[in-house]
Amino acid sequence: MKELLKYFWKWKWKILLGVLALLIVDLSQLFVPLVIRSAIDRIAEGIMNLKSLSFHFLLIVFLAFMTALFRFFWRYFIMGSAREIEKSLRDRLYKHLLTLDLYFYNRRKVGDIMAHATNDLEAIRMACGMGVVGSADFFIMFFVSLFFMLKISPILTLYVLIPLPVLSIIMLFFGRYIHRFFRKVQEGFSYLSELAQEAFSGIKVIKSFVRERNEENIFYKGNVIFFKRNMSLVYLWGAFMPIITLVSGISIVILLYFGGKRVILNQLSLGSFVAFASYIGFMIWPMMAIGWVVNIFQRGSASMDRIIDLLKEKPVIKNIANCINVKNFKGKIHVKNLEFYYPDTEKPALKKISFEINPGEKIGILGKTGSGKTTLINLFLRLLEPPQGTIFIDGKDIKSYCLYDLRREIFLLPQEAVIFSGTIKENITFVHPSANDEDIFKSSKFAEIYDEIIEFPDKFDTLVGERGVTLSGGQKQRIALARAFFLNPSIFILDDALSAVDSETEEKIITNLRDYLKGKTAIIVSYRTGVLKNLDRIIVMVDGEIENIGTHEELVEKDGFYKKVYEVQTALTEVMK
C-alpha cells in the first residue's frame, strides 16, 4: 500500500483535479432531485406557472451540462493518470529487466515475468483509476446525498438507510468470491483448451491406437468440470443483481410507507418524497463501490508488492567500481585453472581448464553436446560469471573491464541464431540501427544471404518471425552473421553458428571471413573437421574438460575424439558422393 501511495503522490495534482471535477459532477447530479422536488411541490401547491416551470427546466438542463462537462474532466484526469502510472511503471519495470542477467532469467520463467507485466500492472491501474474514482465517489456521493436527505428529513433518512450497508458487505463478500469463482471458470476454460490442444496435437497416437472414443470421454469430463464451475459461478453471480435490487428496493418500500405516511400527514412535501427516492438511487452505487474499492486496493497493493520485489532483484553480473575503459584489445586470452559450477549443481560444468590464445590466433573448439563449449564461451563475455582470477584478456582479469567495452570488443555469434519479429533489414541492423542500405547489402553479401533475400517478395523489408515468412535454420544463421559486418571487435567467436548452413555456402562464408578476421583473435566452435583443420590450433573438449589441444595434423595422429570424428566424416563424404 505504501508503494502505491507513493505513486498517487507523484500524480497528486492530476488526481486532485480529477477528484475536484468528480465533486462538481456529483454535486450537479445530486442537485437535480432538489430541482425536481421544488417543481413538484410548486405543482402540488398549485403555485406553478410557465415562467417558473421554464426556470426549472433550464436549471435541470444546465445541471446536466455541468455534469457532462465535468464528467469529461474527471475521466481525463483520473483515468488518464492511472494510464500514466501504468505506463511509467511498465517503463521502470522493463528498464530494470534489461539490466538483469542470465542468472535471474534461468531462475525465473519469462512466462511468470510476463504475468507481472500484464496482470499486476492491470491490477495497479485499476487501483489507481477505478479505485480512486470509487473511493472519491463514495465519500462525495454518500455524504452529499446524506446531507441533502438529512436536510429534508433526518428520521426518514435513518429509516431508509438501514438496508444500504448490506450492499457494502455484499459487495465485499461477492467481490472476493466472484473473483475466485471467476478464476476457477477461467481455469476450467484453459483446462478445456489444453485437453483439446492435447488431443489435436497427439492425433497420430490417438488414431494409431484407435483412442478416439476414449479421448471423447476425457474431453466430455473436462466439459462437465467446466460446466460445474460455470454453474457455481452462476449460482453466486445470479444472486448478485437480484439481491442488489432487493436491498435497494427495500429502502424504497420503507420510503413508500414511512415517507408516504408523512406526506399524507402533511409532515413532508410530495416533492421531498420523490427527491428521496432519487437519493436512494444515488446511494446504491457508493454503498457498493466502497466494498468493491476495498478489493481493488487489496489486489492493487499485492500486485504492487510483487512488482517491487521484481524491481529489487539485483544482477549478479555488473561493473566493478572503477572498471577499466578500453578502446580495443590486443586479443591475448589466458584461461587459468577454470572450474565452473551452475547454481545449485554439484557437478562442475567445466574443470581444470587452462589454455592461452595469442593475439591474432585462430582457435577451433570441438566437443560433444554438453561438453561445456558454450559455457566456456559465455564466461568470456560474462554472460555467466567466472570465478575471480580465471580468465584474463591482455593480462587483466575480464572482471576488471567495463562490461560495455568487454562485450563490444568480443563478438559472439551464438549457436541458435536469434531472429526478432520484424523485417529482415531490422534484423540485420539490430546492432547498428542507423546503417545505410549500401552497407546492409554489403553485409548480406558478406554473410552469403543477399541472393536469397532479394528472392523474397518484399526483399529486405520482408517480415520474419511469428507473423512473417519462416526462415530456414541456415538463413537465420546467416542473417545473424551479417550483423558482424557492422562491428569491429578485437575478438570474434562463432559458437557452431553455421551448423545449419550447407558446406558449400559455409566455405564461401569462411573465405569472406578470412579478410574480416585479419588481425583479430578468433574462436570457432564447430563439429565439422573440414572447417577446423584450417585453424591454427584446435581445443577438444570432453565432459567439461580439455582432452587435447593441438593442430589438425597433431590431433589426427593421436587416438582421441577428434580423430574418430574426422574419420567418420571423411568416410561419410565419400559414401554421399
Binding site: 534489461l98 489435436f200 496435437s201 497420430k204 476414449n214 435490487t245 518471425g465 567418420v568
Partner: protein, 697 residues
C-alpha cells in the same frame, strides 16, 4: 481470437441481408443438440414475462400510492356558466358527487376522466385547490359542508391536531401500508424469479454448448491426417473453445433477453400512453437520439478497443521476445536501442489507451446528457400538463422511472448486435469445419489374425507433390522381423504412414492379412498394429495414464507387466508416487530415454499383432541406451515387426533388411547377403563399425 478480420466482418454484413443464411447455419448446429430442453426454455420465457410485468408494475404502484392516497383526493367543479355540461355531468358522472350548492359539486379527482378533466380545466369549471374530508369542525378554518360531510382545503389541514390528522387520513395510511407490502412482495418475487431464470438460462446454455462442443470435437477427431497437416492446432482449439463461447454468449445474453427487452418496451410504452399520449410521444421522440448516440459510441469504443488490444498484444509480444533473447541483447550491448524501441511501443499503447479514454470521456457524458434532457422535458411538459389537469403527480413520478427503463434496452441494442455478429461469424467457422469430410472408414472388412504384410507396387505422394514412394513391393510373413534402412528423406516414414492408412496410396495395393487396406475397417486395422515413434507424445496425467493412454479402467497389473518387460518399471518405481507420478509439461520431467521406454510399455500394453517401430536416433547415456536396446528386443518378440532401424544390433537381429533410397527399394536381403553384395548397405555398415554413434539417417 473471436472476431474475424475486417474481411470476414464485411462478408458477415452481406450475409446479414439475406437472413435465411443465418437460420440455415444455425440449423446445422441444432443437429448436434441431443436434448433441446424446450420445457426449461419455455419456463424461462414464462419467468421473463412475469418479471417484465413486475418490473413495469413497481413504478405504477408508486403512482397509485401518490395519486390515490398521498395527494388529497377531492376537487370542486363549478358549472355556473355551463348548464348543458352540468346536465351531462349529473347524468353521466360515475363517481360519488356531493352537491355543495346548486352548481358546485365536490368530487374525487380520480373519478374524473382525463377527457373531462381537460374540458373542465379549459372552461374554468375545475376550481383551483385540493380538498380533504374531515370529521370535526374547527372554528378558525373555512369548512365546506355538504350533506353532513365536512371538507377543508388541504393547506388548512395542518391546523388540526396531529392526532386528528391521523384520524382523518387513517384510511389512506392503511392503503399506503398495503401498497408498501405489495411492493415488497413483488420485489421478493422479482428477486426469486430473476435468480431462477438466470440460473436456468445459464444451465440450458451450458448444456447446449456441451452438446455442440462434443459434436465438433468428435468430428475433428474423425478428420484425416491431411487435415491436421494443413490446420494449426491452435486454430482448431479456438473452434471448440472461443467460438462456442461466442455462441453461448449470444444464446444467454442476447437471444432470450431480446424477448424481455421487447416485452418491456411494449409494456412501458403502452402504460405510458395510457397515462398521457403527448408526453409519451415527446419522450419517444428522444429515443432515436439515444439509439444513434449509443450506436456511434459503441462503434467508436469497439474501434478504440481493438486498437488497444492490438497495441497491448504487440507490447507483450515485444517484451516476451526481448526477455527470451535477453542474452543476445546484452551480448551486443543493445539494451539502449531495445529500450528506445520499447519506449516507442509503450508510448503507442499509452496513446491508444488515451484515445479509448477520450471516446469514453466524450461519448458517455453525451448519452447521459440526452437522458437528463429527457428528464428536463418530462418535468417541463409533465408539470405543465399537471397544471392543466391532464396529468398527475404520481404519473410524473412513475414516468421518471419509466424513462430510465425504456432507454436501457435501446442503449443495449448495438452491443447486442455485435454479440450477434460475432456469434454468426463463429457459427460460420464452425459449420465450415463440420463440412470437412471425415477419414475413410473402409468397407468394414477384417482379415484373420496372422500378421502378414504385402506391398504390391505401391506409389504414394502427398497432395500435388512428387512421388515419395515409387513402386515399393515386398512381403513380410507372419512373425517376421524386417528392418528398413536408408538416408533421411528416402521415404521410410511415408511407408509406415501408408500402412496405418494415415495417407492414401495412389497406385498399387497394400494387403494385410489377406485384405487390401482400402477395404479394411480403419479402426480394426489400426487396432492390429502399434506405432512407436521416435518423437514420443506424452499426455498430461501420470504413468498409468500414459501407458494405458488414459484408459478409464486400466489394468494396473498389465501396466506393470508391460513396464517391467521393457525395463521402464525401475525408473517409474524410483519416482515419489511411482506409477501415479504426474508427468509435467508433456514429459519435461522425463529424459528422452525414459520417454522411449514408456512408449514401448505403451505398445506392449495394447499387445498388437504387428509392431511398427521408428527406432530412436537421439543419443542417450550408455545405461539408458542399453535399456532401450533390451526393451526393443522384448517389444519385438513373437510378432510381425517393421522397424525403421538405426542401431547396429537391431538391424542384425532382423530377418530381412530393406534398403530404400529416393522412394525406391535399392537392396533387400539378410545382413550377410547385403554385406557380400558390397552395395550401399555394406558401405553404411563399414562406417557403423568405426563410429558407434548413429549413422543411418
Amino acid at each position: 481470437m473471436r472476431h474475424g478480420g475486417p474481411g470476414r466482418g464485411f462478408k458477415m454484413e452481406e450475409e446479414r441481408l439475406t437472413g435465411t443464411q443465418d437460420i440455415r447455419l444455425f440449423k446445422r448446429l441444432l443437429k448436434y443438440i441431443k436434448k433441446p430442453y424446450w420445457r426449461v426454455i419455455a419456463f424461462v420465457f414464462v419467468l421473463l414475462m412475469v418479471t417484465s410485468v413486475f418490473d413495469i408494475s413497481l413504478p405504477y404502484l408508486t403512482k397509485i400510492a401518490i395519486d390515490d392516497h398521498i395527494v388529497p383526493p377531492y376537487r370542486i367543479l363549478n358549472f355556473k356558466d355551463y348548464p348543458e355540461l352540468k346536465q351531462e355531468f349529473v347524468n353521466k358522472f360515475k363517481g360519488e358527487k356531493i352537491e355543495i350548492e346548486s352548481d358546485r359539486y365536490i368530487v374525487k379527482k380520480r373519478d374524473i376522466s382525463s377527457y373531462e378533466l381537460k374540458l373542465y380545466e379549459k372552461k374554468g369549471i375545475l376550481e383551483k385547490g385540493l380538498y380533504i374530508e374531515v370529521f370535526e369542525n374547527k372554528e378558525d378554518i373555512s369548512i365546506i359542508q355538504a350533506k353532513n360531510r365536512n371538507f377543508v382545503k388541504y393547506e388548512d389541514l395542518s391546523k388540526f391536531s396531529p392526532l386528528m390528522i391521523f384520524k382523518i387520513r387513517k384510511k389512506d395510511i392503511d392503503s399506503i401500508k398495503n401498497i408498501a407490502l405489495i411492493y415488497l412482495g413483488i420485489l421478493i418475487l422479482l428477486g426469486i424469479f430473476t435468480y431462477l431464470h438466470m440460473v436456468l438460462l445459464q444451465y440450458v446454455g451450458q448444456k447446449l454448448m456441451i452438446d455442440v462442443r462434443m459434436g465438433l470435437f468428435s468430428h475433428i477427431l474423425k478428420l484425416p491426417m491431411t487435415f491436421f497437416d494443413k490446420n494449426p492446432v491452435g486454430r482448431l482449439v479456438t473452434r471448440v473453445t472461443n467460438d462456442i463461447a461466442a455462441l453461448n454468449e449470444f444464446f444467454t445474453s442476447v437471444l432470450v433477453y431480446l424477448f424481455k427487452d421487447i416485452l418491456l418496451i411494449i409494456g412501458i410504452t403502452a402504460i405510458m400512453f395510457k397515462m398521457n399520449i403527448r408526453i409519451t410521444l415527446i419522450i419517444l421522440a428522444l429515443s432515436p437520439f439515444i439509439a444513434i448516440a449509443t450506436t456511434i459510441f459503441r462503434k467508436k469504443v469497439r474501434e478504440a478497443y481493438r486498437e488497444v488490444r492490438r497495441k497491448l498484444a504487440y507490447i507483450n509480444a515485444f517484451i516476451q521476445e526481448s526477455l527470451s533473447s535477453i542474452g543476445i541483447i546484452q551480448v551486443y550491448n543493445q539494451e539502449k536501442n531495445n529500450y528506445r524501441k520499447f519506449d516507442g511501443i509503450n508510448d503507442d499503447l499509452f496513446k491508444a489507451n488515451m484515445r479509448q479514454l477520450m471516446v469514453f470521456a466524450i461519448f458517455r457524458p453525451i448519452i447521459d446528457l440526452i437522458r437528463a434532457f429527457a428528464i428536463a422535458l418530462l418535468i417541463f411538459f409533465g408539470g405543465w400538463t399537471i397544471m392543466t389537469g391532464a396529468f398527475t403527480l404520481g404519473a410524473l413520478a412513475a414516468f421518471l422511472s419509466y424513462v430510465e427503463m425504456l432507454f436501457r434496452p435501446i442503449m443495449d441494442i448495438s452491443e447486442k448486435y455485435n454479440i450477434f455478429q460475432s456469434a454468426m461469424a463463429a457459427t460460420e467457422r464452425i459449420v465450415i469445419l463440420l463440412d470437412e469430410k471425415g477419414e475413410e472408414k473402409g468397407n468394414g472388412k477384417t482379415g484373420e489374425r496372422r500378421g502378414e504384410i504385402i506391398f504390391d507396387d505401391v506409389w504414394m505422394k502427398y497432395d500435388e507433390g512428387d512421388w515419395v514412394l515409387k513402386g515399393i513391393s515386398f512381403r513380410i510373413n507372419p512373425g517376421e522381423r524386417v528392418a528398413i534402412v536408408g538416408p533421411t528423406g528416402s521415404g521410410k516414414t511415408s511407408l509406415i504412414s501408408s500402412l496405418l492408412k494415415f495417407y492414401p496410396v495412389q497406385k498399387g495395393r497394400i494387403i494385410i492379412d489377406g485384405v487390401d487396406i482400402k477395404e479394411w475397417d480403419t479402426c480394426e486395422l489400426r487396432k492390429r498394429m502399434a506405432l512407436v515413434l521416435q518423437d514420443v507424445f506424452m499426455f498430461s496425467g501420470n504413468f498409468v495414464d500414459n501407458i494405458s493412454l488414459r484408459d478409464d479402467n486400466p489394468s494396473i497389473e498389465r501396466i506393470k507387466r508391460s513396464a517391467r518387460r521393457v525395463y521402464a518399471h525401475e525408473f517409474i518405481e524410483s519416482r515419489n508416487n511411482s506409477y501415479f507420478e504426474e508427468i509435467t509439461e508433456k514429459g519435461k520431467n522425463l529424459s528422452q530415454g525414459e520417454r522411449q521406454l514408456l512408449s514401448f510399455a505403451r505398445a506392449l500394453y495394447f499387445d498388437p499383432e504387428i509392431l511398427i517401430l521408428d527406432e530412436p536416433t537421439s543419443s542417450v547415456d550408455s545405461y539408458t541406451e542399453h535399456l532401450i536396446q533390451r526393451g526393443i528386443k522384448e517389444l519385438l518378440k513373437d510378432r510381425t515387426s517393421l522397424i525403421i532401424a538405426h542401431r547396429l544390433s537391431t538391424i542384425m537381429d532382423c530377418d530381412k533388411i530393406i534398403v530404400i533410397h529416393n522412394g525406391k527399394i535399392v537392396e533387400t536381403g539378410t545382413h550377410k547377403e547385403l554385406i557380400n553384395k558390397k552395395g550401399l548397405y555394406a558401405k553404411l555398415w563399414e562406417l557403423q563399425i568405426k563410429e558407434k554413434e548413429l549413422v543411418f539417417g
